[in-house]
Each structure stands twice: as C-alpha cells, then as structure tokens.
Symmetry: C2
Subunit: 471 residues, 2 copies
C-alpha cells in the first residue's frame, strides 16, 4: 500500500530527472543523438526491464498451457507473442512495425510511472526497439549454438544412408513443390516463393527429439533415422536459409550468387568444422589451464560470436556461424559442460526471440471475414498440405529396411519449428516477404507443430517400432 | 584463404544492403530514426558481436593474469576494460564518452568488413553504444541479484551484534572521514564529496568471501564476523548508493529528500523482503507445478526485473530491487537451484559491466607528469588512506571477544569491489562526479582490492584465528 502511494506521489519528482547539465557533445557532431542519450538512458533500461517481464510472462503463461495439453512449449511462446504483439494487445514497441509509437502499452506505462515525456517518446521507442531486437537476435544466435552443441556428426554418419535419403528428399520435395506451387498457382514472385519454399524444408530437431523421448522411441531404429535426418536436414535448411536470405536481400536470383553462396556456405561450414576440430584440442587445453570463473563459457561464447560475426560479414547469417561453433564444440570432451552452462542462457534469451517473432506478426491478415485475406489463407492451406505430404513421403524412400515403420519416419519429420520461424523472422526483417505469405509460413509452422505429436503417437501405436539397441 | 578472398571481393556487394524499399514510416513522425533503423540493424548486431568478443577477450586475458598472481579476477576485468577503453586502445564505442565516433576500432572494422558507410556511422555508433550500455546494466542487475541470492539474513542475525558494530562503524567512519576530508581539504562540492564518501563504504562480499575461502578461514569466528558484517555493509552501502545517486541526480541536498529516500529505501527493501517471504511459498508451489523448460529461472527473472523496475521508478536504483529479489529468493528452498542457473548468466553478463566501467574511465587524468592531474592524484591517495584506515579500525570495536584477531577482521573488510565500482559507474552516468574524483574512486577500489589479499594472509599467519565450528 505504501508502494502505491509512493509511486503516485512521485510523478512531480520525475521532472527532476530531466533538466541536468550535460558535457558539451555538440563538438562531436552528434548533437541530436548525444543530447537525447543521457536523458533517455535510464528510461531505456526501465523500458527494457518492463518489456522483458512482459515477454517472459507471455511466454510462460501460454507455454504452460501448451505443456498441459501436450503441445511443444515453443508454440506457446509464439502464440504468447502474437497475443502481446501488434495484432492484439500491442504491449511492446517495434518501431519498424509502424504500429509502435506512443500507442504501445510499455511506453504508456513509462509515461505514467517513469516520467517519460511525449517529446522523448520517439527516441526512447527507437532505442528500446533496437535493444529488444538485438536481445532477440542474441537469442536466436544462442539457440542455433545450442542446436549445434546438441547435434552429433558421428551419430549422423552412423545412421548413414537412410538418414541422408530421408533428409535430402525431405528438403527437396517440400522446397520444389512449395516454390513451384506458389509461383504457378498463386503467381507469387520468384524470390518470396523461393523463400517460402525454403521455410518448408527444415525439421525441428528440438521438437522431434522431445516428442520421440516422450514416446520412448529415441533408441528405436526409426527414432535413430529421424534424429539423424533431422540433424542433416537442419544443416541443409540453414544453408538454404543463408542462400535464400541473401537472395531476399539482393532482390535477385543470380545463378553466380547462388553458386557463390552454396560454395561459401559449404566452405564456411566445413572449413570451420575442420579448422575447429584441428584447434579444439588447444581450446580444451587452454580452458583447462584457465583459473577464472566462467572460463569455459566465455571461451565458448568468444568462439561462437567470432564465427557468428564472420558468418554475418561474408553475407551468410550470424546463426550459421553460431551453429558451426556449436557443432565443433560438440566434438570436444567439454561439450556436456558447455551444454549445461548454455542451458540457462538459452532459457533466458531464446524465448525473447520466439515471443518477438510472434509479436511482430500481424495475424489480422488471416481474418477470414476480410476478403483481402483470402489469398493468404489459401496459401497457408497450400503450404500446410505441402509441408505434411512433402515430409511423409520421405518414409517411403527408406531402402534396405523391409520391416521398418515408414509412416513413423515420415510423420516424425513433420514438425517445423525454430528454423521455420527463423525464416519468417529473416523474411520479415529484410522486408521481402509479403505479410500474407509471412503469416502463412507461421501458420504452417504452428499447424505442423500442432499436428505432429498426436499423429506420431498414432503411427507408433498402430505398428510397434523395431526396437534396436545402438551405441 | 578463400575466406580472405571472399571478404575482400564482397566490398562492392555490401552496397546491395543499402537501397531497399521500406514501409512508409513518415506517417509515424519518426522520419529520421525509422529510415536509419532497417539499414543499420544488421550492422548493430555485427558491432554487438564484435564488441562482446573484445570485452570477453580483455576480461579473460587480464583476469587470468590476475588469477595467476593471486589477485581477484574482477580487478582483471576492470584493468582489461581500461586497456581496451578510451584511455588506451579505444576499441569500443561510447557515444557519451565523446571519444567514440569514427575513431573507435570496432567502427573501423565494421567499415572495413561489413560495409558500414561514413554516413551511417553516427547512427550505428549511437545504437551500438546504447545496446552495450544496456547489456552492461543488465550485467550489474544480475550481479546484485546474485549477491542477494548469496546473502543470508539468518546468518547475519546469528553472528549478530559484533557483525553489526563492525558493519556500522565500517560504513560511518570512511563515509564521514572521506566526505569531510574532501570538502575541508580539497574544497570539493557537497554532492560529489558525499558521493565519493559513500563509495568508500561497501566491502565487497564476493572478494572477501573468496579470499577467506582461499585461506580456509570462512568458518573461523573472524571469518563469520567478516562475512556477516560484509553482508550488512552491502545492504547499507546500497541504501547509501540509492540516497546519494538521487542526490547526484537532483543536484541538491534536501533533508526532506534524504529522509524520504532513507524511508522509502528501507520500506522498499524491508517491504519487498516481508512481502516476498509471505509470497515465496506460493512462488515455490507455482514453479513446482510448471512443466516448461527454464520455469524456475524465468519466474526468478520476472521477480527480479519487476522489483528492479519498481526500484528504478520510485527513484531508488534498479540494482536495489534486484538485490532485494535475490535476498527473498535466497530464503526459499529453491535458492541453490536458482544460484546454479544464474551463475552462467552472471558469467556472461557481469564481465560486460566491469569491462565497460574500466573502458569508460579516462585514466589519463592520473598521469603524474601533467600538473592539472595533481589534485586528482592527491585525492586518490587520500581516499586510499581513508578507505584502509576506516575499515581497519572496525576490528578494534569488536566487544566481548577478548582473544579475537582484531586485525584480521579489520583487514578483511578492506576490499571494495562491485559496489564501489557501481558508485563510480552511477556517478559517471549521472555526470555529477568530476573525472578526477571518479578516477580517484576507481584507483581506491583497485588499490584496496590489490592490498587486501596479501595483507589478510599476513595478519592471519601472525596470530592464528580462533577456529570455531558453527552450524
């Protein structure tokens, strides 16, 4: 009670924050920006704290509901984001969304409690949007680093040819069918069509592995092939993403660019893995000789951020570098320790990414009562069909395994997730994806993620898997 | 080799990033800022990755050297920051430092590798400075949350009156002597003198506990009193910080403000602890019923960030709220788990704070060959003497313990650290602290931290402590 009184009484005090003597920045030529900075600094921190509380609250509230009804929690983070985002409650500020401005609830709260003035609002909104955006990008970098750490090149090589066939078919079929269908049926331009087709490719390792573990099928032959294919599929998906994101940025499909990017993606990924394998004994020896707290974590983050930076500046993606760093460190004797230490950091940062992706999504384009939305909805339906059929057929292609549960493999590849959402996020950031198609991709990710867990339960029960102890 | 070629060849490509079709933001009134944002977004991410690599590299390089010569690693992070900062190498960009701009190495590297143009440099510099600043403030919030988690109200109550006397004397004597001396001898204005005096108060729990553990004196009676006093001392120091920071912001010493702030700090801290104790069983029950990954961590962070936000908007400090949240959660049965999960996050974010504090410090004011610096150097010498003597006398005040090692207790209270640096950082951020006095505070923190570990070894060896098994 005394808190509430204190906060109300403080409104006039807030004025004391504003007029202060600042050092003379005008000499530096940053007149406008530098003058704004000292006034807005603590407001941006307060806005960041508020935004994070909102993001975490939304991610856990809807995430817990999803967990209760046996749906992946990543879905809850996404839906939570949609609810607090520009489509519904408009709590967070995104200057590039166009809807941010003074209407966002977080800015209204700062005006009411922290002395934010209407004059300062545009600068605070811009800084806050930038900070939340960087935190969410750090989240996806940490996520891909974690996926890399959880991946296992040796396991992939062991389950071998079957996994490779499943992965390649599961990338080629949805990509080709999706892209061709969007161009032929919906007259979508080539670049966004390729982008949407690419978003259909990558199976979510996280969701698939979690569902398999819940069904106790991780060690079955089907489970091994699914995990192996999902790992390879993820690498292919990220290469496709890098290629497609660059196409989206340049706005053209130059075959020279494509070849350059495929080659540089492959050289970068394979090169950093080979170089990393060569250097990793020295990495382990160095970390073992270090004595300060957090030495393993900081050394790993330096490695991940350097590769992420190189990945970004050679026009691939920062996340590709982080993934390669994870793959390399997964091969070291320290990988369990690194995973354990990255876990809380991922728990802290990754939800920011998914919630922000959801929050930036304008789902109003999927309102069926608005005639302008029909094309987006039909595209979403088309993408969902291609996404499911394109993965289910992969099970039929498994060779040399007569008594294998082909349906289980195909269905196990259905859930898209992190990488599919990364496509939507990158497409949104580069501005190349029409809003209807971006929303259709998100609907596709949501539906494939929804449908896979119950389906997988059905197909594993109808024909018990051939249990095989490997390892 | 192909990487290097690729990077050089890409320079003309970078131009393709720039001209793109953006949504029409002019309607929103954010013309300048919004047009800059989509172009600068990926550059800010790349700059953030680079800055973090530089920060981590500096913190570990110098931190490891400090660990080798038995000095606290936090010292290494600070000195590492000084080396990469505006005083020496000027690698990072700080727009408020005035020295940032195009001279910072991180911006030159972005110009050379990532296609940053001179026109975009001011905006990217401003955004990058803001992002690094928020990350460093998140670092100190997490640090104080962690210190709160490691504190123990019950332990403090048990070691009781001796610890309280040591803590109060160890706050009052350096504060009074430091403030009075600065005003009387150096003619410093009241507000900065009070600020510098306040920076002399808080013993570093982390450094003291670590040194005691290394000497295996944590369970001795002296060790118990030191830790107990340091915990209370830290709380007093943070209340003093909140009061003084507000004085610095308003620029006046109004007795009404002081009373209001002491009362509101006490009400906020005690209120949130009592309320938190009342609510914490529900917190534990709720977390136990949650099923999603990271539920304990996210629930804890929501709690910490909400209290930090309230602490900030009622004109105290965000870190005070984070500390209170840590104290409350330290009382729950989950505190070990929370500590374990906060550890990697602190390892990731806290060094950013210390390195940034060091990097923003202009140590050139301590150059003894420049006559203009003499006053700063003499002030630093004065602060160091007050800081050491003001804590050593506390051991003499311990009553009812005839055979106790009084020198050990006094020397154990010497190291300042996190909280002292927080004072320097807050003073720097509010602009109220003259550069010479700010640098003098940092020299004081460095020297007290330097001198305590070897001194403590000497005083414990000269008169063996009365070992006592408690608990």
């Amino acid at each position: 009670m005394s808190f509430a009184t204190g906060m109300i009484n403080l409104s006039p005090w807030s004025l004391l924050f504003l007029p202060m003597s600042f050092p003379d920045f005008s000499q530096q030529g940053y007149l406008l920006l530098a003058e704004a900075a000292p006034q807005t600094g603590s407001l941006v921190l307060e806005g960041t704290l508020l935004s994070l509380v909102i993001i975490y609250f939304a991610s856990k509230l809807v995430g817990e509901i999803c967990a209760r009804i046996n749906l992946p929690t990543v879905l809850g983070e996404l839906v939570g984001g949609v609810i607090i985002g520009i489509s519904v409650l408009n709590l967070l500020v995104f200057s590039e969304g166009g809807l941010g401005g003074s209407e966002a609830w977080v800015l209204q709260l700062l005006q009411g409690t922290a002395g934010l003035t209407p004059e300062l609002t545009p600068q605070v909104a811009e800084s806050l949007s930038e900070v939340i955006s960087i935190l969410s990008e750090m989240g996806v970098i940490i996520l891909l680093f974690e996926i890399g750490l959880e991946s296992n090149l040796k396991e992939l090589i062991r389950v071998g040819p079957q996994a490779a066939v499943v992965a390649v078919i599961g990338v080629v079929v949805p990509f080709a069918a999706g892209t061709a269908g969007l161009i032929a049926i919906f007259h979508v331009a080539t670049v966004p069509a390729v982008f949407a087709g690419a978003a259909l490719t990558a199976t979510s390792i996280g969701i698939t592995a979690k569902v398999l573990a819940e069904l106790q099928q991780l060690s079955s032959r089907e489970g091994q092939i699914i995990i192996g294919a999902a790992v390879l599929d993820d690498i292919l998906g990220i290469i496709v993403l890098a290629v497609v994101a660059n196409l989206a940025k340049t706005g053209e499909v130059e075959i020279g660019n494509v070849i350059y990017l495929v080659v540089s993606a492959a050289v970068f990924l394979i090169g950093s893995i080979l170089l990393g394998r060569f250097l990793s004994p020295y990495f382990v020896a160095m970390v073992n000789r270090m004595e300060t707290r957090g030495q393993l974590l900081i050394a790993s983050l330096i490695f991940a951020f350097v590769l992420a930076y190189i990945g970004a500046v050679i026009q691939l993606e920062a996340i590709l570098g982080a993934f390669a760093a994870g793959l390399v460190l997964a091969e070291t004797e320290k990988h369990k320790e690194i995973e354990e230490q990255i876990l809380p950091i991922a728990d802290m940062l990754v939800p920011i990414f998914f919630v922000v992706v959801g929050a930036k999504t304008d789902v109003s384009v999927l309102n069926p009562f608005d005639p302008a939305n029909r094309e987006g909805l039909i595209m979403a339906a088309f993408l969902v069909v291609v996404a499911i059929v394109g993965k289910v057929v992969t099970g039929l292609a498994v060779f040399g395994q007569p008594d294998i549960n082909r349906w289980a493999i195909g269905v196990g590849m259905i859930p898209r997730g992190e990488v599919g959402l990364v496509f939507a996020g990158v497409g949104s950031a580069t501005g190349i994806l029409p809003k209807s198609l971006e929303a259709a991709i998100i609907v596709m990710v949501i539906l494939t993620t929804f449908v896979a867990p119950p389906l997988l339960r059905v197909v594993f029960q109808s024909a018990p898997a051939a249990v095989q102890e490997t390892g």
